[in-house]
């Protein structure tokens, strides 16, 4: 059904469309001819029982798109290969072909987890159009783009937060994990502060070449993650590479933490946020997840009982009950630059202790550093504390026995005297 207004629009557009066709692929059809039918809004209405996939092309949208000057036939390559007697092309037209122009992206896509799914005829995987749009395609970085950074996470979540899709693909990451991004420091920077430079899904996971995190080529694979975070957090990457964790990671130690080991993944929060794994109150638990884990401590010969000895210290108790000024692990050991005490650069190396303690206790000098900090208080390591404890154990025990014995004797004597004196007012010896 060609309305009057439709015809006018076709006429207006046809000159330019025909011109492009002339220098583009030979389709045998002008865009004008395509739009004569496909420009009819009536096509937008799906027939009952049919999937609502429209063959309607909004001329205005197309004119504003990045592909305004690309002829229909350049993407819809199969047009024109069929006789035009009844219908100009076969009814079921294959997907628009992007690879002819976007060869590099198509190659990357073919190797991605999405591309491999498509190769297996998985209808849930996103094709080019799913993310980039179809006739409305605009420049990726442009303000109207569907995958403009501020909007991009929403596009990914259309599938990754859809439990119907994840139910069909058990190897897809958990929906809650994906959704957690929205509340993360990165997600909020994007959504609340409108920071388009904040990382969105593709910033860390890659785009066309997207791979699952356990693929060594994925930018979020353990081996590559620090570099990926370091693309933005450059100064921290340099510190981390030099730290005991960074060097262990580089040596391939399987338990060495990378960024996410401490900061979390999609849940990542600013250290000042109480929910952050690196918030002062949570740091002991975060460090303790390795340094109090017997398997890890035993395997690598780390000092044992770090968490427990800290927890019973005055710092540990203060932090546990919500004080954020008291020292946590990172206050003394550092964080991205953490080093073992044997390393002279370490903040807890003997020579540096006065300065490290002195950050909060300006009086702490070399004298103070003589003692050892959060050690297991055994007879050998802390004889003073050990013997004080032992003394009091005995002293308190003996005191209780003496008190109870005296009371028993006194009450016994009182009752005995009362019995002797008979029912009198007071038992006097």
């Amino acid at each position: 059904m060609a309305t009057l207004s439709g015809c006018i629009t076709v006429l207006l557009l046809s000159a330019r469309a025909a011109g492009v066709t002339a220098k583009g692929h030979s389709t045998g059809l002008s865009d004008r001819a395509c739009l004569r039918c496909h420009g009819d809004p009536a096509l937008a209405k799906a027939k009952p029982g049919e999937r609502a996939r429209t063959t309607y092309v909004n001329r205005a949208v197309l004119a504003r798109s990045r592909h305004a000057k690309v002829a229909c036939g350049e993407c819809h390559t199969r047009i024109g290969k069929h006789p035009h007697d009844k219908h100009p092309h076969e009814v079921k037209l294959p997907r628009a072909e992007c690879a002819a122009c976007h060869r590099r992206e198509a190659r990357a896509y073919a190797g991605s987890i999405h591309g491999r799914g498509l190769a297996k005829a998985d209808t849930d995987v996103p094709t080019c159009q799913r993310c980039h749009g179809g006739h409305d395609i605009v420049q990726v970085r442009g303000p109207a783009s569907r995958i403009q950074p501020l909007r991009q996470a929403r596009i990914c979540m259309e599938c990754h937060a859809d439990t119907r899709i994840t139910a069909r693909h058990p190897d897809m990451p958990n929906v809650l994990l994906i959704r957690a991004y929205a509340d993360s420091v990165h997600g909020r920077a994007m959504a609340k502060s409108g920071l388009a430079v904040a990382p969105t899904c593709t910033s860390c996971h890659g785009t066309h070449d997207l791979k699952p995190a356990d693929d060594p080529r994925s930018p979020v694979h353990r081996k590559n993650l620090a570099e990926t975070c370091g693309r933005c957090h450059q100064g921290i990457l340099a510190e981390f590479r030099d730290s005991v964790h960074g060097t262990a990671l580089a040596q391939g130690v399987p338990d060495a933490p990378t960024c996410t080991g401490c900061h979390g993944e999609h849940t990542i929060a600013a250290p000042a946020d109480p929910s952050s794994r690196v918030a002062p109150r949570n740091i002991p638990r975060t460090c303790g997840s390795c340094h109090s884990a017997e398997g890890i401590v035993g395997t690598y010969g780390l000092a044992s009982k770090r968490g427990e000895t800290y927890a019973e210290s005055v710092h540990g108790i203060a932090v546990k009950f919500g004080n954020v000024e008291a020292a946590n692990c990172a206050s003394c050991h550092g964080f991205h630059d953490v080093q073992p005490s044997s390393d002279p650069r370490s903040r807890i190396a003997k020579a540096n202790l006065p300065a490290t303690c002195g950050k909060c206790h300006p009086g702490a000098g070399a004298k103070f550093a003589e003692g050892r900090v959060h050690i297991e208080k055994t007879k050998q390591s802390a004889p003073g504390v050990f013997y004080v404890r032992r003394f009091y154990t005995w002293f308190i025990g003996i005191l209780i026995v003496c008190f109870l014995a005296y009371m028993t004797v006194e009450i016994y004597g009182y009752r005995r005297r009362r019995k002797q004196a008979g029912p009198g007012p007071e038992g006097e010896g």
Partner: protein, 235 residues
């Protein structure tokens, strides 16, 4: 010491000044014990609950230190009191430990076990009261000194190695348990549950003791006061 003439059968045992010293000592020590135990038992529900009541770890510290200031004030005043007032000095002289106190203790135990003759004629303070006084003196001195070292940690750190600091922290915690025993097990038994005084020895509030009780419990003092003509008649 004023004679109990006005009330007839009672004599003044503790002056208002002394009762106030005791009251302040009691309140500050109870507050110190509660706020201290909430830290000592921070792992148990009672410690967590107390910490919550006290306004968290900072509130706890604040209350604990203010109570410590009161305690130290009372102790300091007490020293001045026994050094520079006639009454205070006399009380302190009565509290001096003597060998007789040990003999008295043995005699009382024998008496209670049925081997005894007479109850010893105690003077103004008997061995229990002297023990209470000196035990609390030693304990509070320990607590005040170690407590000050922990309070002024930054200053102490300049002169003290870490291990000594740790030792003082443990000492402070353990000694508090001793004080708890001394007060809540021993002293409260002594002034409340002891058959002789049950349900309570009122003299800490009224400051007075009846002549009859004085004669029973502090015979030597009673005799002394009678000889001095300060008690008329007695019984």
């Amino acid at each position: 010491m004023t004679p109990g003439g006005a009330e007839g059968r009672e004599v003044l045992r503790f002056t208002l000044n002394e009762r106030l010293q005791h009251a302040l000592l009691m309140v500050s020590t109870i507050v110190l014990l509660i706020t201290g135990f909430s830290l000592l038992f921070h792992d148990l529900w009672i410690g967590r609950w107390l910490l919550w009541l006290e306004g968290g770890i900072e509130g706890r510290g604040l209350i604990h230190r203010w109570a410590a200031v009161v305690l130290m004030g009372v102790c300091g005043y007490h020293f001045l009191y026994i050094l520079f007032t006639e009454r205070g000095h006399a009380q302190f002289m009565h509290l001096r430990p003597r060998r007789q106190d040990v003999r008295d203790l043995i005699q009382v135990i024998r008496l209670n076990l049925g081997r005894g003759e007479e109850r010893p004629p105690f003077d103004r303070f008997d061995y229990r009261q002297k023990f209470q006084y000196y035990a609390f003196f030693v304990a509070s001195a320990t607590m005040i000194l170690s407590g000050l070292a922990l309070w002024f940690a930054t200053e102490t750190m300049t002169i003290m190695p870490k291990w000594m600091f740790d030792l003082l922290a443990v000492l402070h915690g353990q000694e508090s348990v001793v004080i708890f025993l001394l007060l809540f097990v021993w002293h409260l038994y002594d002034v409340h549950l002891r058959p002789e005084v049950f349900p309570m020895d009122w003299s800490w509030i009224t400051g007075r003791i009846s002549v009859r009780e004085l004669k029973e419990r502090h015979r030597a003092e009673y005799e002394r006061l009678r000889r001095a003509g300060r008690i008329d008649g007695g019984e």
